[in-house]
Point group: C2
Chain length 117, copies 2
């Protein structure tokens, strides 16, 4: 057993689906489904909806974490998925999850960084 | 009011302070203190200690999030601090928090990325 770094994808995207940026409920259901489909293991989560719209969410996984912060007033979100390769090679899963989220929001990617860490 | 992106610092560091990598309790106290000192607003958190040592933690802030994942068996941690500039310019706070964590672990930086987003 040796340490294999994981892949962290950081994205900023635009979306005109303001209702999906405004409240965490739709995102939450979709992410739950993606986590189940990709057989990732959740160990905790925080969902926080702001009074004036927009939300912040982080899901902790045994494989690291997924996070989103939304600014509906700017039709904008920042999204992260970081999956370490401790027991499995998870780089493709990280890309699939990002793709699944971008599709869900019908998002237009403004910036994307992939960091091996 | 217009959207100003924030700064996300991603770091991998080594530390021989295995007890600080092994259990979340010391990190938690130190981070609480940093959050208080820097006047950041916590909205939720997840701390998860693994049975075989090591932990994963994410603290959600109104300003975005802070996360850490540790691998004591490799004397290694990945640390993130992402502070958006929605109401204040927070870039220096992000750098100060990272500096505070690295000092706490007497860590040796292996890789650091700073992403404006």
């Amino acid at each position: 057993m040796y340490y294999k770094p994981g892949l962290h994808i950081l994205s900023e995207f635009k979306s005109v689906q303001r209702h999906l940026l405004n409240s965490s409920s739709f995102f939450r259901k979709h992410l739950e489904w993606l986590i189940l489909e990709k057989k990732l293991q959740k160990v905790g989560e925080v969902y926080h909806d702001f009074e004036n719209g927009g939300f912040t969410a982080v899901v902790c996984l045994t494989e690291s974490h997924i996070s989103i912060h939304t600014w509906p007033e700017f039709e904008l979100a920042t999204f992260d998925v970081f999956l370490s390769n401790y027991q499995h090679e998870n780089d493709e899963k990280a890309r699939d999850i990002y793709k699944g989220i971008l599709e869900f929001y019908q998002g237009t990617e403004l910036q994307k960084n992939e960091i091996k860490r």
